[in-house]
């Protein structure tokens, strides 16, 4: 089975995000970028499938600016086999990404597409579901456990109030949640090997996909600053404040 893992370049999770002064978006200049942590979990799971003999090849794909190659290299250094960059300077929306991925799926014909459940930048949580819709494939989202079987993939989904076990017919889309695994560190020997692994380059035009934005961002602002907390001296005072000031009881 071939596994396709779409990955996204995002602002590093440890960086404090700042809004641009013109409120058109967040500041990306000279900001440390990294692979989206959920994508990292998807790459790790693909590598574990390969190590267990359930997958033969792991192909990474990303769409975005040329520097997104670094994100592919990070995944190749973890153990993926080759990468695909769909190069564009356009700000991509989930539907555009899903359409690009559909085109890649049709070329690569993977048995499984493993994605992060969402990216930590836009928190959209849409691409995997849209891709499943476009392909008319089965999907297991928010997955915290995954087992491959003959012609099917069994997953455990983290849903509100508990866990849901689902068996998916292959080929399938799986979006992964935080608790699926702990991604490995890229080792120095694998980083050296990753330099020699191929990255194929395409443009959206090559794939016949239009990626022009359909949504207009009016304004991006910082969340409002939180007011300082207050200390109460007794439970009675707390109840009083909840009733009179917060008006929640």
């Amino acid at each position: 089975m071939k596994v396709l893992v779409p990955v996204k370049r995002v602002i590093d999770a440890n960086i404090k995000v700042r809004v641009k002064s013109d409120q058109s978006g967040v500041e990306l200049n000279n900001v440390k970028m990294a692979m989206n942590p959920f994508c990292e979990i998807a790459v790790e799971e693909a590598i574990r499938l390969k190590e267990a003999g359930a997958a033969e090849e792991i192909v990474l794909v990303t769409a975005g600016i040329r520097q997104s190659q670094e994100t592919l290299r990070s995944g190749l250094a973890m153990g993926a086999d080759r990468g695909i960059l769909i190069e564009t300077d356009e700000a991509l929306e989930p539907l555009a990404v899903a359409k690009l991925l559909k085109a890649v799926v049709e070329r690569e014909e993977p048995g499984l597409v493993l994605l992060g459940k969402q990216a930590i930048d836009g928190d959209n949580n849409q691409t995997g579901q849209m891709l499943a819709g476009l392909l008319n494939w089965s999907i297991g989202s928010f997955v915290s456990k995954l087992e491959t079987g003959d012609g099917s993939i069994s997953v455990v989904r983290e849903v509100d109030g508990g866990l849901e076990k689902v068996r998916l017919k292959s080929p399938a889309i799986v979006t992964v949640d935080l608790r699926l695994n702990e991604p490995r560190y890229a080792s120095l020997p694998n980083i050296m090997k990753a330099k020699k692994k191929p990255i194929d380059m395409f443009t959206p035009e090559d794939l016949g996909v239009g990626v022009a934005p359909r949504v207009t961002v009016l304004k991006v602002v910082e969340p409002p600053a939180r007011d300082a907390g207050v200390k109460v001296s007794s439970a009675a005072e707390l109840v009083e404040k909840l009733r009179q000031e917060a008006k929640v009881i």
């Binding site: 440890n14 990294a34 670094e70 290299r73 990070s74 250094a77 560190y185 890229a186 080792s187 120095l188 020997p189 980083i191 050296m192 990753a194 330099k195």
Partner: protein
């Protein structure tokens, strides 16, 4: 450009290494280092993470199981660790102590030890040179190794031997020919690669020294320690020369740790100076806060250029004694000045352990003293670069 020109790269070199090492450091944040510091504990989990991912084998040639990377790459690894707020002092010597064996050891020694050092199965990160009575006056060391058939019998004492309790092997410099019998004081010293696992409590005793930083340093006592003659590295009596070329690598790498420290201090101080508001505005707008940071940044950038120059010369096989020494001097001072500016910026909070500033400040101070003190670097530059009379 002629063939003696060495190329120096600028900018963020080895981005993939910075990314991958930075990723490991993310899992070992301030709380981890504070816990190790408070308990004077060896940061085993961190060292294991680095070892398992092959980082400590960066300089070992591929033929012996390492990555065969240039010294500059190793410098980037160490800088990244220090810039993250951590410390590589617990394991950096695993990277370079093997250099003496690599350059001067026999093929049999290399085959026997280097692949195991590369995999981390064997730790070679202790270097017994300094002694209580001789300090940096290495030629005057008193530890004796006397040939006895197929063995040497070692007697003497070493001090400030870092990580000896966390090292399987040790590189030992001892006198094999009495000083009175050699023409040059630096002759008659020999290097041995000894197996501490066999010698502990069997001729070798290691006692930890409690210090101001968590550095796992020790004193090592040799009493009739019996080591196989095959432990000798290279030729008997030429040990001093063998360790000298390793020192240029060590100094260049330590310089990069200082650069990492400086980057840590400046990053923390700059963001704190923008956030901390008092007297109606961020403290960073006050020149008393801002200018020391700006100056330390300028100093760090300049010092880093010297560290890169030393590494470039080393990697090109050119002599680099002056550059390695100057890099160590300038980078350690830049880190110290950045640390001082950072302490002052954080005010009282600098002393609160949870900010990690005081710990890094204590750790950064070490490199003005070790592995060679500032005065000895100046003496080297005075004598060997400027041709002034020998002072030490």
């Amino acid at each position: 450009m002629d063939e003696t020109t060495t190329i120096l790269t600028l900018g963020e070199d080895y981005p993939d290494i910075r990314r991958a090492v930075g990723r490991i450091c993310e899992d070992f944040q301030g709380a981890y280092w504070r816990e190790m510091d408070a308990a004077s504990a060896y940061p085993l989990a961190f060292v294991e993470a680095l070892t398992k991912s092959g980082w400590l084998a960066a300089l070992i040639p591929e033929a012996y199981g390492g990555a065969g990377l240039p010294l500059r790459a190793a410098a980037v690894i160490l800088e990244t660790i220090h810039a993250s707020g951590g410390s590589a002092a617990a394991c950096h010597a695993q990277m370079y102590t093997m250099g003496t064996v690599l350059r001067h050891g026999s093929e049999a020694q290399k085959q026997k030890y280097l692949p195991a050092i590369a995999s981390g199965e064997l730790r070679l990160q202790a270097f017994g040179v300094t002694e209580p009575a001789s300090g940096t006056d290495t030629a005057n060391l008193r530890t004796r190794a006397v040939r006895d058939g197929n063995h040497y019998i070692v007697n003497g004492q070493k001090v400030w031997t870092s990580r000896a309790l966390y090292s399987d092997l040790m590189l030992l410099l001892a006198r094999t020919t009495p000083r009175e019998e050699v023409t040059k004081p630096t002759d008659g010293l020999s290097v041995f690669l000894i197996d501490l696992r066999e010698l502990k409590d069997n001729g070798v005793e290691i006692r930890p020294i409690d210090t101001m930083i968590n550095h796992n340093t020790t004193e090592v006592f040799f009493s009739d320690a019996k080591i196989p003659a095959a432990s000798l590295v290279g030729e008997e009596g030429k040990g001093f020369r063998y360790i000298l070329d390793g020192m240029n690598a060590e100094r260049t790498l330590i310089a990069s740790e200082s650069i990492g420290d400086a980057r840590f201090f400046l990053e923390r101080a700059s963001s704190y100076a923008c956030e901390r508001k008092i007297f109606g505005g961020p403290i960073g707008r006050n020149q008393g806060i801002q200018f020391p940071l700006a100056r330390a940044h300028a100093e760090t950038e300049a010092a880093e250029l010297m560290a890169r120059k030393a590494a470039a010369l080393f990697d090109d096989g050119q002599p680099c004694g002056p550059e390695a020494n100057m890099a160590k001097l300038l980078c350690a001072e830049a880190a110290w000045h950045a640390g001082e500016a950072c302490m002052q910026t954080f005010g009282g909070f600098a002393f609160a352990r949870e900010y990690d500033i005081e710990r890094k400040w204590r750790e950064a101070r070490l490199y003005l003293t070790a592995p060679i003190s500032t005065n000895l670097v100046l003496a080297y530059i005075g004598q060997h670069v400027l041709g002034l009379p020998k002072s030490y």
